[in-house]
């Protein structure tokens, strides 16, 4: 019996947003009478934290703390259109729509504040803590609470804005395939170390070092959630998962979480995540979509590490102990 070690690398990129564009998202933002901000969308939070990120984007744009923003989403009676949550598009598309809507609302807010302070709106800025101050003269200020009250009850202004983001659809050329698939790409490089039991074909992933370039980490803790979970799913795809274990035979498909294999809490590799940020030209604060990309590079990295360990290629996913063992036996048989 021998436990053999190997390591493998893979590097990838991933497009942000629906391929070829043509996938709009809209947002509405309005202030409540006491200066809280309602963002109305029809985007869906699958657990990735879209609501929280939209709140932070709106807060940054308006110039208020995030806890002053409320997200009202995914009610088609109230929320304007969103193409949906897929293709790593949520943050990028909805985020841009929210920025546009929030900017418009902010402008009205500053105009009302300017009237109250009897200054020019262009001389005002937000302090990020709920106040609007005169640039260079911070003692002259008004709270956003008071601005909102004034707008509603005194000046008859609606502090609100509309946002829409659409990348026009690209149509591939029939002959050459010339097309614009995406406006920005996230990147990754992953190195994994594995141990392979050459008598059973069992693989243990020891370490995973992931470097992800994601444009901008809008909320680093939430980015970490996505990337750690994605890295796990990549390992899972590489070694465990399929609904048809004997594809193309349709037999023996798993019907539960015992039969559909995924790494358990006792199978976790030591995982390191490093994030780089090269802001995209058209992303909200430079953000790209890391949600899908983060689960891809582990798969080939594991495949390459298995080869490095035991000298056989398994070019069929998932790389099961059986496939490795068959390859080892074929190799031994010459």
């Amino acid at each position: 019996m021998a436990i053999r070690r190997g390591r493998g690398v893979a590097a990838i990129n991933y497009p942000t947003g629906m391929n070829l564009g043509g996938d709009p998202t809209q947002a509405l933002v309005h202030s409540t009478p006491t200066g809280n901000f309602m963002v109305t969308l029809s985007s869906v939070d699958l657990g990735q934290g879209m609501k929280q990120i939209m709140a932070q984007i709106c807060a940054e744009t308006i110039g208020v703390p995030t806890d002053r923003v409320i997200i009202d989403t995914a009610d088609t009676d109230t929320g304007p259109h969103c193409m949906g949550t897929f293709a790593s598009r949520g943050t990028h598309r909805a985020g841009n729509a929210v920025i546009q809507a929030a900017k418009e609302a902010r402008q009205v807010m500053l105009e009302v504040a300017a009237e109250e302070l009897e200054v020019d709106a262009s001389d005002l800025e937000t302090d990020g803590h709920g106040n609007i101050v005169v640039k260079g003269a911070p003692q002259k200020s008004i709270s956003i609470f008071d601005v909102a009250l004034s707008a509603h009850f005194k000046r008859g202004r609606s502090i609100s804005g509309r946002g829409m983001f659409l990348i026009p659809r690209s149509y591939p050329d029939k002959e050459t395939g010339a097309m614009k698939p995406s406006t920005c790409y996230a990147h990754a490089c992953t190195l994994v170390e594995v141990e392979v039991d050459d008598e059973t074909g069992e693989v243990t992933v020891l370490t995973v070092k992931n470097v992800f370039e994601i444009g901008r980490a809008l909320n680093p803790k939430m980015v970490e959630q996505q990337l750690v979970g994605g890295s796990w799913m990549g390992i899972s795809h590489a070694l465990y998962e399929t609904t048809e274990p004997y594809y193309p035979s349709r037999d023996h498909g798993g019907t539960d979480f015992n039969q559909y294999l995924m790494p358990g809490p006792g199978d976790l590799a030591e995982t390191e995540i490093i994030v780089l940020e090269r802001p995209s030209a058209d992303g909200p604060f430079g953000a790209k979509g890391p949600g899908e990309m983060c689960a891809n590079p582990q798969i080939p990295a594991v495949a390459n590490a298995v080869f490095d360990a035991v000298g056989v290629r398994v070019d069929t996913l998932p790389i099961t102990p059986e496939r490795i063992l068959r390859a080892l036996k074929a190799k031994a048989a010459g």
Binding site: M1, T200, Y240, G254, N258, Q259, P263, G266, E322
Partner: protein, 264 residues
């Protein structure tokens, strides 16, 4: 017609009720309720028994008797049953072990039924109102049996003579690629004087590796001396193919894992 549960205070009354077609005995629910939830409408009556003896564990004179309703968790935490704890802990996660019963495990189709593999190696006897049946015979006839299992009884092995291994893809609680239980008596110098080896997933229910048992007799547990037993381990097996592994794979790695268990 819906699903109805009847509760009896004695096994005798429950056995009578069990003769009605469409009736199943409810143990921990891990097999029966699951089937109902998944749309198995062939069962419309469930019965259970509250007789306290079904949940009793008794250990005396080197004999252990486990009531059929004793859970895997109860076995795993009973100090006197320590040699069986690895097999009990091999079943499911913590919640399942609080529900899954000894009696239920006897009926669990492969790849489930790891505890029954241990019981087979221990030559347990299975008690019903009709009497006691050796594990091997019980397993062979389990599909036809209609009497409620009330207990299993076996000689408690010394810790060093009993070995159990479950191989799974997912850790720590995946279902079995295979499981092996071995009861080995050895002389002071390590020579095997008796061997009972039971295998899980090598058929649709636990089976003995009789050729391997025989090949171990008179040998010590060294790599050289167990080699014939490992070659013989595959005698008569018909491993299952399922989403976890193919029959081919299970057959290939059985000698490897048996070897590791014997040398551990």
């Amino acid at each position: 017609m819906s699903l109805a549960l009847q509760t009896f205070s004695t096994v005798k009354d429950a056995n009578a009720a069990l003769q009605v077609s469409g009736t199943l005995y409810l143990g921990g629910g891990t097999l029966v309720i699951r089937a109902a939830n998944e749309g198995d409408v062939s069962v419309s009556n469930l019965i259970r028994v509250t007789e306290p003896s079904l949940s009793a564990i008794s250990v005396s004179n080197g004999k252990a008797r486990l009531g059929a309703s004793v859970t895997m968790a109860a076995i795993a935490r009973q100090p006197e049953l320590a040699p069986l704890a690895p097999a009990a802990r091999a079943v499911g996660g913590p919640a399942i072990r609080n529900m899954a019963t000894v009696g239920g495990n006897l009926f669990a189709p492969a790849p489930y039924g790891d505890f029954a593999v241990a019981l087979l190696a221990l030559d347990a006897s299975v008690a019903t109102e009709d009497g006691e049946t050796p594990m091997e015979a019980f397993l062979a006839g389990r599909d036809a049996g209609r009497a409620i299992v009330t207990a299993v009884e076996f000689s408690l092995p010394r810790a060093e003579s009993f070995r159990f291994l479950k191989v799974s893809r997912v850790k720590p609680k995946g279902i079995s690629v295979l499981s092996i239980a071995a009861l080995l008596q050895r002389t002071a110098d390590g020579t095997v004087t008796s061997a009972r080896i039971a295998l899980g997933c090598m058929a649709d229910r636990p089976m003995r590796a009789k050729a391997a048992e025989k090949a171990l007799l008179g040998h010590k547990l060294t790599a050289e001396e167990i080699a014939p037993a490992l070659s013989a381990a595959s005698d008569g097996i018909a491993p299952i193919t399922d989403p976890i592994a193919s029959a081919w794979y299970r057959g290939q790695v059985l000698p490897v894992h048996l070897g590791r268990l014997l040398l551990s």
